[in-house]
């Protein structure tokens, strides 16, 4: 496959690359530095930063199963206590998955674990407990998300998201065909602010300028001198202002992505994308949009165009009311949180299978976090209110599966302000470790990415080195 470090026309690149990448079962990323690939240094991976918007109730996803935490849980979590018989125990630990992390509503406990639970059993999932902002407390969605995404807890007045500062401190990134950084969603994530090269798209299939009348929509190469109307847009977006630069990037991206078929391959769409390994991205339930976006990311990764970091969101976790109680084995029970969990689990599973079949999960790491956890004691509406400490997750073949961090405890004295899970691991430590061990950022540069934060090189051991 032609490496994008060498000049090549866009059309030829895509013609050559698409087929090869989809058909290949060998990691074929052209921008691997051979010296590093041999294990002599740090690999350069693709980082996917998945933000669970709304404050996921981590205690409802990774649930106390045994021991002192279970005792406190049964005493204080009232109507939201999930019986142990309804949990998928996580190995032999004192914790269990919400059942929908590993099965559908109608799958009883005992039906083999699927999706996120199965990936954990295979050692691909790290669970970091007691994670959050150790230096700053806020129960405001707006502030918490801003602090986390700017990478400056306590301060939201910056102009750059942490991902933009990461990009400025990664000197080993491939020369991209479009951009190293993608944000999936209709509005740009704060973590990507301040970088004029970032491409934000909500969906690959909808990202094209194709509403004009057919006679002038596409360039007709059979008519001498005929050019599609869309080609007039890029030349109109010249200029130095932030708006003009963004529009230029948009027009550029539209031209580039026009050549890529993001639809699923089918009888009527033979040029479409075929997920590897038989991966099935969700077509119903809460995970459809996330699944589509992860599928687009997988497709872009396989196209080997230099995608280095992608930000994606999955929302509606703000379960102040009627969170729901799982009843695995009963296909029709109400479980709003469970529906969200199943969507997450299925989308991540498809993403993993798809890329793993191409050998690319050795080079892709997913880091998952939320803005805060939720209160230990539920409210009277069947839900939970804003809390503090939470779980973070990481997924990939370069992840050391298992539990990380130290769970601070649910007894009265251990609860933060007497009401919330405390924070024992700063979220920046986990992200920084991914940047250092997987993205090749030097430990010394972490202070540029997370100002005021001291990275502990001994680390939490979430990610493998090299």
């Amino acid at each position: 496959m032609t490496s994008p470090r060498f000049p090549v026309s866009r059309r030829n690149f895509l013609k050559g690359c698409c087929a090869a990448a989809v058909a290949s079962s060998v990691p074929a990323l052209g921008w691997i530095d051979p010296a590093k690939a041999a294990g002599s240094g740090v690999q350069h991976d693709v980082l996917v930063y998945l933000f669970l918007r709304g404050g996921i109730d981590g205690l409802h996803l990774v649930v106390p199963y045994a021991g002192a935490d279970r005792t406190a849980y049964e005493a204080k979590r009232n109507d939201l206590v999930i019986p142990t018989s309804r949990l998928r125990r996580i190995g032999s630990s004192n914790w269990g998955w919400h059942p929908r992390a590993g099965g559908a509503a109608g799958d009883a406990i005992g039906v083999p674990n699927q999706w996120l639970s199965r990936l954990y059993d295979q050692g691909r999932v790290a669970i970091i407990q007691g994670a959050g902002m150790s230096s700053t407390v806020t129960r405001s969605h707006f502030d918490a998300q801003a602090f986390i995404e700017f990478g400056t807890p306590g301060n939201k007045s910056g102009a750059q998201g942490w991902i933009s500062r990461y990009l400025a401190n990664d000197f080993d990134m491939p020369s991209p065909m479009l951009s190293n950084a993608f944000g999936f969603g209709s509005t740009l994530q704060t973590s990507l602010y301040g970088n004029s090269d970032v491409i934000s798209i909500a969906s690959g299939e909808d990202f094209r300028l194709d509403g004009f009348h057919w006679s002038w929509d596409d360039t007709d190469t059979g008519i001498n001198g005929h050019y599609g109307a869309h080609l007039r847009v890029l030349p109109m977006w010249q200029g130095a202002s932030a708006l003009e630069q963004s529009g230029h990037a948009a027009a550029d991206a539209l031209e580039f992505m026009r050549e890529i078929d993001f639809g699923l391959q089918s009888g009527s769409n033979t040029d479409g994308y075929l997920p590897g390994g038989g991966a099935v991205y969700p077509t119903s339930g809460n995970g459809v949009t996330l699944g589509n976006q992860l599928r687009n990311i997988a497709q872009l990764v396989k196209l080997d165009m230099g995608l280095t970091v992608a930000a994606v969101d999955y929302g509606f976790w703000d379960t102040h009311e009627s969170q729901g109680m799982p009843d695995p084995g009963n296909p029709n029970h109400y479980d709003a949180f469970g529906n969200l969990t199943e969507g997450l689990a299925r989308a991540l599973d498809a993403f993993y299978i798809d890329l793993h079949a191409a050998g690319l999960m050795d080079r892709v790491t997913v880091v998952i976090q939320s803005e805060f956890g939720r209160r230990f004691r539920p409210n009277d509406s069947g839900g939970t209110d804003h809390g503090y400490g939470n779980v973070m997750l990481a997924l990939g073949n370069q992840v050391n599966g298992g539990f990380h961090g130290s769970f601070p405890g649910l007894d009265d004295l251990s609860l933060f302000e007497g009401q919330d899970v405390a924070v024992t691991t700063d979220f920046r430590q986990i992200i920084a470790e991914a940047l250092v061990k997987r993205q090749g950022v030097s430990g010394g540069a972490i202070g540029n990415i997370f100002p005021g934060f001291s990275y502990s090189a001994g680390g939490s051991g979430v990610f493998k080195t090299g």
Binding site: R139, S140, S175, S186, F207, H213, S241, A242, S246, S381
Partner: protein, 579 residues
Amino acid sequence: MSVTSRRAFIGLTSKSSSTQKGTPSSSIFADSFESPPPPGPSAAIIALNRMAYGPRPGDITAFNALGADDSSRLAAYVEQQLDPGLDDSACEARISAGGYTTLSKTMAQLWSDHVRDRDNLGLDNYPYRYYPCAESECAKMLRAVYSRRQLFEVTVDFWHNHFNVLGWNFDIAPLFVQYDRDVIRPNAFGNFRQMLEAVAASPSMLQFLDNKSSRGSSFNENFARELCELHTLGVDNYYPGNDPNTIPNLPGESIAAGYCDNDVYEAARALTGWTMRDDHWEFPNTPEYDTGEFLYYPDWHDVASKYFLHRFILANQPAMKDARDVFDVLCQHPGTASHICGKLCRRFIGDNPPQTLIDSAAALWRQHWQSADQITRVLRHILNSDAFRETWGGKVKRPWEALAHAMRATGAEIDPQPYPDWNPYGNLLNLLQQSGNRPFRWPTPDGYPDRAEKWSGVSTLAQTWRMMSRLFELRPPGEPEGGIYLCDVVAQTNAALAPAARSAEVIVDFWIDRIYSQSIPASRRTQVLDFLRQNAPANEALETTTNSWSANDLKQHYTQSRLRSAVALLFMTPEFYRR
């Protein structure tokens, strides 16, 4: 950092690195000044792009006739727009003629029809359950395009975002007409304290932020938190933590300078019992408890004393007084005045309005916190300010605003309907939805953001352009090939220009005038002009009455389609998105 070698190789122009100064679109509040910026656009253009959804044909002329200079014209226009007596009968007639069935229903009727379906008409199922929201969206579109009370419609949009609920929601959609018609619209130019209580008591908000199920000592904090954080004081006045004694008082007053988490919990306690008649099993089992209307239910109210922003609220107060005391404290607070006036200034002027204007508006806001025309007074103050008159280009048009402007400037004839199956309005609104700005679809209580950087992203621009490329291809439902279009730019071109005058340059300049009311940079105009003229000289008349294949002579190749596409391209320039 990434290298743009690919762009250079395939010959695309690299990004300009020189600073462009002195263009008509520079804001006076730009960060650096090397030479004094030239005068901005006229007051007419500023007013019609920021107090309105863009000019309809004739609006600029009408504005300029209001006075002898820009200052007096603007003042007169502001008064005209603030006048509740401004005649809008033509727009109201369109809404009446739209055949909408839900817009006049009472809360009890909405509940009976679209939630309980008492007449067994299937109205509680999709899509009819959602018609109250869908028809509210249709009315919003009609008003954006046709209402003469443009400032009012822009302000209503502001308040809908400030007090955002997710209209397109299973529980809220059937009730949404009440929220728009009875809560937001009547108070949009009026009194904030009154609007706030109407919001708190509205079934839509009671559902959205869970207060309808907040009761007793195990209250639900959701609404109380957003009440403080979004609706009144704002997160800049938030002191995280649970000890109110760590917060200072306002200078010279006995009220706290801001709120902490404990205040949120106290406000939640004050609001317990504010619920709705939804046949909850604890209510008496009679029909009057199943109407969907607001209900204060004393059994659910926490009667113990509260301590909110250093104000002690006695135990056992009369019904609803605890929450009203909370509202009173919040509405008198200078933090609320600053927060909301800051948002108003950002909506109407630019993302970094002068603090002095925010302060003077806030002082007026606070002074009139009990006046029936509080919001009118503050808007008058903001819109007549130097900052308003002298700022241009500090905001980015959001996709909804861009769509409304496009329909106004191109004389759209629309009759939006919430058909369950495909129809051009469904197609259009779906494209708007992909741009991330479809009305009543923002899922969190903070409403659509109002900062330029949130709407300048790649996805927003790309999806808005896609919508524009499609807009001019849409015909009314059932219209055959060869029939009229929703925005019939070909028909209007042919009506305005004699055949001999229909050259590419005249046509392009005609539409530039309609859309922008001023010139645009030559570099943009040239692209559209060259596209429209193809191989013809710019001053040669085009044949705009036919639309057929002509591959050997592209100036005649599907000329009408090309004209529509050219107009669409005029909505894809940087200048269009600045306001």
